[in-house]
Structures are given as structure tokens and as C-alpha cells.
Symmetry: C2
Amino acid sequence: MTETIELKRVGDGNLRAQVYQQIRLTIQHGDLAPGQKLVDVDIAAQLGISRMPVRDALMQLVHEGYLVGTTRGFTLPTLTATDVADIFEVRRLLEPRAAAHAARTLGAADLKTLAAALREAEAAAAAGDADRFFQANSAFRNCWLGAVENERLSQTIARFADHVLVVRLRTLSHQPTQAVVVAGMRAIYEAFVKRDAVAAYDRMTHFIQNAEERFMKLSPPAQHSSGEGESMSQRGKS
Amino acid sequence: MTETIELKRVGDGNLRAQVYQQIRLTIQHGDLAPGQKLVDVDIAAQLGISRMPVRDALMQLVHEGYLVGTTRGFTLPTLTATDVADIFEVRRLLEPRAAAHAARTLGAADLKTLAAALREAEAAAAAGDADRFFQANSAFRNCWLGAVENERLSQTIARFADHVLVVRLRTLSHQPTQAVVVAGMRAIYEAFVKRDAVAAYDRMTHFIQNAEERFMKLSPPAQHSSGEGESMSQRGKS
DNA sequence: CGAGCCAAAACAGTATACACTATAAACTTA
DNA sequence: TAAGTTTATAGTGTATACTGTTTTGGCTCG
């Protein structure tokens, strides 16, 4: 309402999928104010389509944890420290294994992409450009994750990583954190180049532990589930 | 069409959630023929409601992997050997850790429930009642999974376990398999009773490995993603 | 001046109707 | 008789309209 986000349809076929993609990219890019309300009818009007596809897309995003559906519009979830800890626990379990897989399956082209993303991240860190750094980081992760042959594994990781990434935008502006992240990326990259699955596993473990520590240290602590923060109230689950 | 499944609304709040629950239970219980087509308008007529809530529920189930949405109705996915292997890999990563958690947090009432489920499973196995065995198995799992304090972890596990469980119905009728499963349940239960997180971790690891082996050995092998089996063609994902 | 209540607006849930697409079956032709 | 084409039907995708609920703002009463 107060600040209409610009949305454009991305050609993909299904309207629902288009809207879904668009909103998700908007969220991932951080173009969404923390308290911003996403209202289906508004977005529909902005896109010149009806409410239904928008509504479907929003509900899918809610189900995936990108949004929370309150009684009054959809909005970004405010992750508590517990939420973040939970997500990082799952990531710790999954990502090292996935990295080990990737060490086996990454192609030469992928390694080139990773190298480019790594350089980009270093440049962005040196320039203090948080946004570029964020993008390079995502590119790096998407690349090696794409090489993991277990689709369910990589998709699950991508989802959970995205959840914290939304909040992590803040800590990623922090200069020392950027340095730590770059070092971790480089270590992982080198393991990939050597096709050393064990090293990839270990370094990814280390990387995630570091990321969590950094996050916990720097996060503006919306402490444990006090009555205020709405946290993640999943609805209608088993 | 040919065989209308009986559906009843379960009181929970909004229609979408009710329908979702109902269909999911139907799937989990195995009351759905492998080739059965789920058509929104049919279900809607059967429940005396409109298509929309049914459609939403079906799409949610598709997104969660319980169903696949073809151009002609929704149907059960036919998991290939690769699919099953992928799912078991994720389960191997997640469940031992979750079991270790549960060993710490399970209450006395929970242990009673687990003991009851275990006895029930043993009785069902002795009687050769595959259906009862299946139910007891689910009760056991849901109980300890409910005690895991990391919601995201337990929900992710529940989902993946359900996916193979649908297909596992077949192997679970096999007498020797039932014996193996019961032995595994008992081992895990005893670790829980002793509140031994390490033992719970190890035994769960062993249990899942066993389950996978059993499955692979007995499964009517819809082999690797040949052109025929439609497998899991997720639509509109990243 | 503050608190409680009532009314109106905003927004999600649900229903119905229409359009478009893909699949399958039937008919025609070679 | 077989193969290709066309048509019909089944089923999803999208739109619009309506209803119920919750929240917010204003008004009145204490």
C-alpha cells in the first residue's frame, strides 16, 4: 500500500508460476520491507490479472516458509533466534553431504562459474558493496547446488538456506563477516577443484558453523518466541 | 471415476485444510489405487463444496510430493529406484539426529505411547495383519517425531518418510520384513527408554539402512528414470 | 480525557462460470 | 487393415462475484 513494489511478469507459462517466481525473486533480493503487507488483490491489479493466480502463488510461498499468512494480508516472517538455530541445524545435517556430492559431479563449466562468483564476491567485499556480495554468494551456492544429483536434497537445502538468507542480508553487510564468508567460499571452491569430497564435506561443515556463529553474534536479537514476534505459525499441518 | 473413494470432511477450520487432511490420510492409508485419478470437480461434488478448496488442497499435495499433477487429473507418483534412493539418503542424514533429540525430550506419556505402538506392531506382525502393522508403525514414528523440538526438522522428516511409505505399503506386507522392522523399533524404543541419545542415533541409522535394503530388494523395480515412468516431474520450481 | 462499543472497510475464503488445452477415440483414406 | 487427422470431451487455468470475519477508526458515554 504505502510503497508499491514493482512487479513484472516473467514468461514461463502458467500465471501462478510466473507470479510465484516474481514474488520469490523479490523476497530473495530483499526488496521487501520487513513489515510490508502483500495483498493479493493489489498485486493482481498491478499485474493486470485476477486474484486467483496471485493467491495461489502467495499460499505456495506461505507453505514453503517464505511468507506468513496472517488474517490480514501476507507478510515476511520474523525469525526468532530459535527459528534460525533450527534452520541451521538442518543445514548442518544436509549441506556437507551435498557438497561432497558436488565435489564428484561438478563439471569444468561449473568450476569456471564458481571461480567467477568467487572473484565477484571478493571484489564486492573489497568494494563494500553488500548487494553485489549477496548476489555473488547466491550465484556460488546455486551453481554447486545445481550439480548435486539428488534433487530432493538440493531443493530442501535451497529452501532452508533461502529462509535465513532473507534475514542474513543484514549481517552480510558487515565487513568482517564478508571476509569470513569469502574465506569459506574459497576453501570450499578449492576442495571442489581438487574433487576432494572429504575436504568439501569438512569445509562446508566449518563454513556453516561459522555462518551461524556470525549470525547469532550480529543479529538484532528478536529473542525467543516472546508473545510479540509472530514467528512461524504454520497452519493446518500434521 | 471407476471407484469413487469415500471422503468425509474433518472438522478443522477452513475447507482447504479439511480437504487436504482428508486426502492426505487417504493417501497414507493406501486407499488409493496406483493409477487412480483424483479429479477436483469430482471430489468437490462428493463433499458438496466448490472446486476451489479441493483444487488448493490438491496443489498443496502436489507441491509436497504426495501427488503429481498431470494434464489430466492428479495421481500418485510412481517412484523410481533413483527416487527412493534419493529419499533414503535424505532420511539417513536427518532421522538419526532427530532420534537423538527425541531421546532427550520424550516424556513419560510419550514412552507409554511408544510402548503401546510397539506391542501393537508386534501383535500385527504375529497376526500377519499388514494394515494394522502399518498403522502401528505410523503411530510409533509420529510419536517420537512429535517430541523433536526442531519443528522444521521433524516436518521435513515426516514428509520424506511419507513419500516412501506410500510405496512401502507393499514391502510391509512381507513377513520377514515385518520382523526386521519390529526388531528395529524395539532397539530404538529401548534407546529412548534409557534416554541414550547416542544409541538412538546409531540404531536409527541402522534401522533406515535396513529399511532401504529391504525396500530395494523387494520392490517391484520400476527401474531408473526410463521414458515410461513419469517419476516426479515437479512443475514451476526454481 | 479516557475507555468501550459500534460501524465500516479491508481482505481472505468460497462459489460459480467461462475459456483453453491436451488426450483419446473415431472416422476416413490410402 | 493401418495410419493419420479431426473432433469431442474431460479437466485444468483464470476470472469475477459474494460472503464472512477481523481490524481499525470514530463516536459516545462515563
